[in-house]
């Protein structure tokens, strides 16, 4: 056996690049016996697969009759049914033609032009968060910057009143159990989902009656058009919170860590923070991608690199290895903030390319620019870094740093 089959061991969680890189180089379309799924690791295969959405369904929760992996407590199977119904109503868990109709409702809210108008808000939020910590000489990047920033932005987009924001953050924490490995994860997950539905319901009622220019009003307009059911409006509101939260946290933490570990690149960013931030953010997205992998379900038998992926097979494609593919990137393991072109697949590709990509970019650019403008450099409090046991997200547990 080329590699051991457990993708949730501490070694693989700590360093996904060694494990998935070995697969990419020796068995790029690999059958994982333990979890009964295909592991796809090359850049070109990932692009091909994501652009052939008709062969690989995104309706994973609806189309996968198998129990979740890693295993959950048998007594929680009822909760899992709730999770399936909930997740299944996310627009990203649909295929065309429904997916296109749903995406069209929300797409305009996230165009580069629309999100450029959010840049001043993001810049100001970053400034305030950094004002809080600057004098202290230390911060936990996760707690003090990376977590509050996306919640502030999303709460503003949703029109959530300020006193409710800590509660929203608590719910978001629970929703994050979706990609984890704990056997009892269904409990916090369903609590988060039910809490979100309960919290968002009156907001949706209100926006149906009095539409504004916020994101919930946009989803509610989809209900009026007959594209979304009420449950779908509720679920997709909370999808914004989930999808825009953990991913952005990871971009900001993993990116900051990359700069800490590469002082030469930090020096380069400091020379011209405003000018370098754009390409630097792309390199952060590539080098230590916020999302490690995404799953699909084969809609028919498909041949890939001599292997037959059977109809209904689980297919998981790995961004972490594709973004380090030497056939695509020169010196793939080098962190180079001037890298161009940089055709990373941190946001996927094809018709399901991440809706919030531009928002993540704006947040990343503003944070890395501000850090470089305001701070001389950082040191880690502790060299030992810990990651969440997730196959989906590349999430540090915390990132405490200090500076002179």
């Amino acid at each position: 056996m080329l590699v051991q089959n457990d993708m949730f061991t501490p070694e693989v969680i700590a360093d996904p690049y060694a494990y998935y890189g070995r697969l990419r180089d020796h068995d790029p379309v690999h059958w994982n016996e333990k979890y009964q799924l295909w592991v796809v690791t090359r850049h070109d295969d990932l692009v091909w697969l994501t652009r052939h959405h008709e062969l690989f369904s995104s309706a994973v929760f609806k189309n996968d009759p198998r129990p979740p992996y890693p295993a959950i407590d048998e007594s929680d199977f009822g909760l899992y049914e709730y999770v399936r119904n909930y997740q299944g109503d996310q627009f990203i868990q649909h295929d065309r033609p429904e997916h296109l109709e749903m995406r069209k409702v929300v797409h305009g809210y996230f165009t580069p032009k629309s999100l450029e108008e959010w840049r001043p808000f993001v810049r100001n939020a970053v400034k305030h968060l950094l004002d809080e910590v600057e004098e202290k000489g230390r911060m936990d990047v996760m707690r003090d910057l990376a977590t509050p920033l996306p919640v502030l932005v999303i709460a503003e987009m949703m029109g959530v009143p300020e006193p409710d924001r800590p509660y929203i953050r608590q719910l978001a924490e629970k929703l994050l159990y979706i990609g984890r490995s704990e056997h009892d994860r269904m409990k916090p997950l369903t609590e988060g989902m039910k809490g979100m539905i309960e919290y968002v319901s009156p907001l949706v009622d209100e926006r149906i009656a009095n539409p504004g220019d916020d994101f919930i009003s946009v989803l509610a307009s989809g209900e009026k058009q007959g594209v979304f059911t009420r449950h779908e409006v509720l679920v997709n509101t909370s999808l914004l919170l989930l999808a825009g939260h953990e991913t952005t946290i990871n971009l900001l933490c993993n990116g900051t860590l990359a700069f800490l570990q590469h002082p030469d690149q930090w020096a380069k960013l400091k020379q011209d923070p405003a000018g370098a931030a754009k390409l630097a953010t792309e390199e952060c997205l590539r080098y230590d991608s916020p999302v490690k992998s995404i799953q699909r379900i084969a809609t028919q038998d498909v041949e890939v690199r001599g292997k037959t992926l059977k109809k209904d097979d689980r297919v998981r494609w790995f961004i972490s290895s594709a973004n380090r593919d030497p056939d695509k990137f020169e010196k793939p393991d080098t962190f180079d903030i001037a890298r161009w072109p940089n055709q990373h697949v941190a946001f996927g590709s094809g018709v399901h390319h991440c809706l919030g990509a531009t928002l993540a970019r704006v947040e990343g650019q503003e944070v890395f620019k501000s850090l470089a403008e305001r701070f001389p450099g950082f040191q880690l409090d502790n060299e030992a870094l810990e990651y969440q046991p997730s196959i989906t997200f590349r999430s540090l547990k915390s990132l405490p740093i200090h500076w002179q």
Partner: protein
């Protein structure tokens, strides 16, 4: 008569999100690599073409006035 446009898709940026096909279906078509190509710049109105360009998540669509060379997007 409507002015002539030059429409290009930057394939270093295009991720095949295919929203351009939705906004200007007679102009944009996905090729074998599932990246967008402007197959007929006169296929839809200027308004639709600019809408397609604005809705590209990668800002990969470049629209110019064919006669003056003036860049209309991005």
């Amino acid at each position: 008569m409507a002015r002539q446009l030059r429409v290009r898709v930057d394939h270093l940026l295009c991720v095949g999100n295919a929203m351009c096909e939705t906004f200007a279906p007679n102009v944009f078509r996905l090729n074998d690599d599932r990246q967008s190509e402007a197959v007929n710049p006169a296929g839809d109105s200027e308004e639709k073409i600019l809408e397609a360009a604005e809705n590209c998540p990668m800002s990969a669509i470049i629209v110019e006035d064919a006669e003056t060379g003036e860049q209309l997007f991005p």
